[in-house]
């Protein structure tokens, strides 16, 4: 019962994460491209374009990090894990997962307090509270934490990450 609930949550969570990333990257590209076109055709540009795209990029970075963690895409030096006996390597990975989990929780806490402090400052062009932009950090670390908990077992056990249809699609097409 719990296992099925977790699996359902996992699927929904990944779908949400994917579509947030797709929407943000597409919006960034569309906004900046529109700005270039407008500058040449209309001689003027959107004053808010650069700021909005920059803030989307920050959200993209933090919300993308969790999904990247899920597929083991962050660079790590894992030579030690190959050298150690497998039991010891598992203990080491357990310690790493625990360290990361504690670190992510701490960053969520600091992040929230940072957001609270910056709710009164407004961004120059769009006049929204800076807190909404900084919220990318606690939210990103929360996503990281959830993804870490979902993959921790496979990682600690055998340094195994869930397969990704997105990343596998990068396998080159045959001529």
């Amino acid at each position: 019962m719990t296992a099925r609930l977790v699996a359902r949550f996992e699927r929904a969570f990944i779908a949400l994460n994917r579509w947030l990333l797709i929407a943000m990257l597409a919006a960034m590209a569309a906004i900046i491209f529109a700005n270039v076109v407008l500058r040449y055709l209309a001689g003027g540009s959107l004053v808010w374009a650069e700021e909005v795209a920059r803030h989307l990029m920050i959200w993209l970075t933090f919300l993308g990090s969790g999904l990247a963690l899920r597929h083991g895409a962050h660079i790590a030096i894992e030579n030690l894990h190959d050298q150690l006996p497998s039991r010891l390597a598992q203990v080491l990975r357990g310690a790493i997962a625990l360290t990361l989990a504690v670190f992510f929780v701490a960053m969520i806490v600091f992040g929230v307090s940072y957001v609270m402090r910056t709710m009164m400052q407004m961004t120059p062009a769009t006049q929204i509270p800076f807190g909404y932009v900084y919220a990318a950090m606690p939210m990103g670390f929360a996503f990281l934490l959830v993804h870490l908990l979902l993959v921790a077992r496979g990682y600690v056990d055998a340094r195994r990450y869930p397969e990704s249809a997105d990343l596998d699609a990068s396998a080159p097409h045959s001529p």
Partner: protein
């Protein structure tokens, strides 16, 4: 404070904590141990590190390359390259070098070269009788041109760290060194192929087929021309060029190569987002890490110490390069540039070394770290896609590494190799 920083980052890296989180955690621990600053400063520095419009060229160039390879572009480029060099000794190896070099005009990172077109070429070389380990080594070694020939993620990041150079100037500066590296790789391929009897293909393509291949490859070959021409002509900034590249790739993939389908777009966007996140989170972490160094006045202390040595420029450059080669064995190029460029670039400039020349040498040097064991990102990616153990790959890499070092020595000794093109284009430094 800096002791805590260095010890914790070293321990965390060796244990296998992902580089980005190891650097963040080290910065947090250093700030905690010091006690003078609120922890929020780490968050603030991470945020500031990626709150940058020039940096936006990174996701866009990544997306453009993904859109291009989402189509049948790799096959097109390889066929085009093969018709020029395929009949020579070690022909398919030469085609591999040429195709990767052409592809590096579209992609901005070495990993993209090795994982995308590289994987396919290794398979084809294997089928044609080359040893897989050799094919993988050739691909890994040649993928170094990815970030040297523009566009280049590492150059975008470097230009943010050193106000003396611009992205546009570095893009121009990379062309000749990139071509030199490609030539060096082809020379090694020629020598090894002669010794092992790797043959070229026998049949000759008809003139009509050759033109057809060239025609198909043309849109892809034009992309770097659009990017560089646009920047050079002052039509757009590097960031704008990168977004133009995205829409150009979209058009090429859907209209010209007709291999880009609407339903494959979500996966391409997710893939580009994930690559972007891994790169930019590393930039954010490096920014926090570097902030601790700056607070501790490490850069100034190091600069004073180096200036005290009173080395002539060339000796200084050689010394810095030896240090970077040792450093690059353990550290990825991106955090390497983030942490070291702000420290070393002022020292080099004060010693009278041209900033563009220095930037080029540092970038090539640190990128070589990607193929040196034990810690080479390119080594692992290639070993995975080629299904060859890292040890076999490393053995085959030796002659290529030697050739890389020769090119690096040339770049160090002959500044115009890096500075001539940017000068010609009006980017004086």
């Amino acid at each position: 404070m800096s002791i805590v920083l260095f010890v914790s980052v070293t321990v965390l890296l060796v244990l296998g904590v992902p580089v980005a989180f190891a650097m963040m955690l080290a910065a947090v621990l250093a700030v905690l141990a010091d006690g003078r600053f609120p922890l929020l400063v780490v968050l603030k520095e991470m945020f500031t590190g990626i709150d940058s419009f020039p940096l936006m060229a990174v996701p866009f160039f990544i997306l453009a390359a993904e859109l291009m390879t989402g189509g049948s572009l790799t096959a097109v480029l390889l066929r085009f390259a093969n018709q020029f060099v395929g009949h020579r000794r070690g022909g398919l190896g030469h085609a591999n070098v040429l195709a990767l070099t052409l592809f590096s005009g579209i992609s901005g990172s070495a990993l993209a070269d090795a994982a995308g077109p590289g994987a396919m070429m290794i398979r084809m070389m294997g089928e044609a009788g080359y040893s897989r380990a050799y094919a993988a080594a050739l691909t890994a070694a040649t993928s170094i041109v990815g970030p040297i020939i523009p566009p280049s993620i590492i150059m975008i990041v470097y230009a943010l760290q050193d106000p003396r150079v611009s992205v546009a100037a570095l893009f121009m500066a990379g062309i000749i060194p990139g071509l030199l590296i490609a030539i060096a790789m082809a020379v090694v391929n020629h020598v090894v192929s002669a010794r092992r009897g790797y043959r070229g293909r026998d049949e000759q393509l008809s003139m009509r087929d050759q033109w057809l291949n060239a025609w198909r490859a043309l849109p892809a070959l034009l992309l770097p021309v659009v990017i560089l021409g646009g920047i050079r002509g002052g039509i757009f900034t590097p960031t704008e060029a990168s977004v133009v590249a995205v829409f150009y790739a979209l058009l090429c993939g859907s209209l010209v190569y007709r291999s880009l389908e609407l339903r494959s777009l979500p996966a391409i966007f997710v893939r580009a987002s994930l690559l972007t996140a891994t790169v930019l989170i590393l930039v954010a972490a490096s920014a926090a890490f570097s902030w601790v160094l700056t607070i501790e006045t490490i850069p100034q202390q190091l600069a004073t110490w180096i200036a005290g040595l009173n080395l002539p420029p060339l000796a200084l450059l050689v010394a810095i390069n030896l240090f970077l080669l040792a450093f690059g064995i353990f550290i990825e190029p991106l955090p390497g540039v983030m942490v070291l460029a702000p420290i070393l670039a002022p020292v080099a400039a004060a010693a009278g070394i041209d900033p563009i020349h220095f930037a080029m040498v540092v970038i090539v040097n640190l990128t070589l770290g990607m193929i040196t064991p034990p810690v080479g990102g390119l080594l692992f990616v290639t070993s995975v896609v080629a299904r060859v153990p890292v040890s076999a790959l490393t053995r085959e890499l030796a002659p290529f590494m030697l050739a890389h070092l020769v090119v690096l020595a040339l770049l160090i000794a002959i500044p115009p190799l890096s500075t001539w093109l940017p000068r010609l284009s009006g980017y004086a430094s």
